[in-house]
């Protein structure tokens, strides 16, 4: 199971730009792995988008999903 991970805003400064991520079948597993690798993430609010749609609750990833970490929006 491979996904493509994107991050935006403040989160991008912690986890970096676009990267491949292995062995994450769903959002819960991914978050745990991410917060282990980047402990600063635990302090931050962010939502997860799977293939351009924001998801709530634990969500399984389709094969080759594009998964984006999105801090609170601040456009306008």
């Amino acid at each position: 199971m491979k996904i493509e991970l994107l991050a935006f805003g403040k989160i991008a400064e912690i986890v970096g730009g676009k990267q491949d991520w292995q062995d994450a079948p769903d959002t819960n597993t991914l978050q745990k792995a991410l917060e282990k690798k980047y402990p600063d993430l635990k302090e931050l609010h962010y939502r997860i988008a799977v293939n351009k749609s924001i998801v709530d609750g634990n969500t399984p990833f389709p094969e080759n999903a594009v998964v984006a970490l999105m801090p609170p929006f601040s456009g306008g």
């Binding site: 994107l6 935006f8 805003g9 403040k10 988008a49 351009k52 984006a68 999105m70 801090p71 609170p72 929006f73 601040s74 456009g75 306008g76």
Partner: protein, 163 residues
């Protein structure tokens, strides 16, 4: 004059089409006041419009912990943002009796005193234009995946938080 009539017909057709085309709202850098004036002027040929409502967002030189904001740099997930904007646009056209709606949002650097958001709604009577403009602005602030980085005069920065 012929061109104008064509434009009106096209706009009317769009209005009655269930599926409007996805539009790009993003402009590189600030939204210019001359562009806003031109956009307003273009609608002065439409004799079915009675009211325009416009919202403009401008970058403030806020002082945060003694540092002054000199610019905001905007980034987005463009594909996701344009899809969301399309969804908002469809919902607004469904809810309000609008003649037209135009939205422009900056990407990249916008200096303090420059404009980063231009929402422009028009209708026959005033309530739909005013209420739609208001709702579009609120939804953009809450739902559009755009991030603003406030850059201070000393070149440090912080990520903007919408109220």
């Amino acid at each position: 004059m012929v061109a104008r009539v064509g434009t009106i017909d096209a706009a009317r057709n769009n209005f009655y089409m269930k599926e409007r085309k996805q539009k790009n709202i993003f402009v590189q850098g600030a939204v210019q006041s001359s562009f806003i004036g031109e956009q307003i002027g273009k609608h002065a040929t439409r004799t079915d419009i009675g009211a325009h409502s416009i919202f403009l967002g401008q970058v403030r030189a806020d002082t945060i912990e003694e540092k002054i904001v000199s610019a905001v740099e905007y980034t987005t997930d463009e594909e996701m943002a344009l899809e969301k904007m399309h969804e908002i646009r469809e919902a607004i056209f469904e809810k309000y009796e609008l003649t037209c709606m135009h939205i422009y949002h900056s990407l990249g650097l916008v200096k303090a005193g420059e404009m980063s958001l231009f929402v422009f709604t028009s209708s026959a009577h005033r309530r739909p234009a005013i209420d739609a403009c208001n709702e579009v602005v609120e939804r953009i602030k809450k739902e559009l995946p755009v991030w603003g980085k406030e850059i201070f005069e000393n070149e440090s920065y912080q990520w903007k938080v919408n109220k």
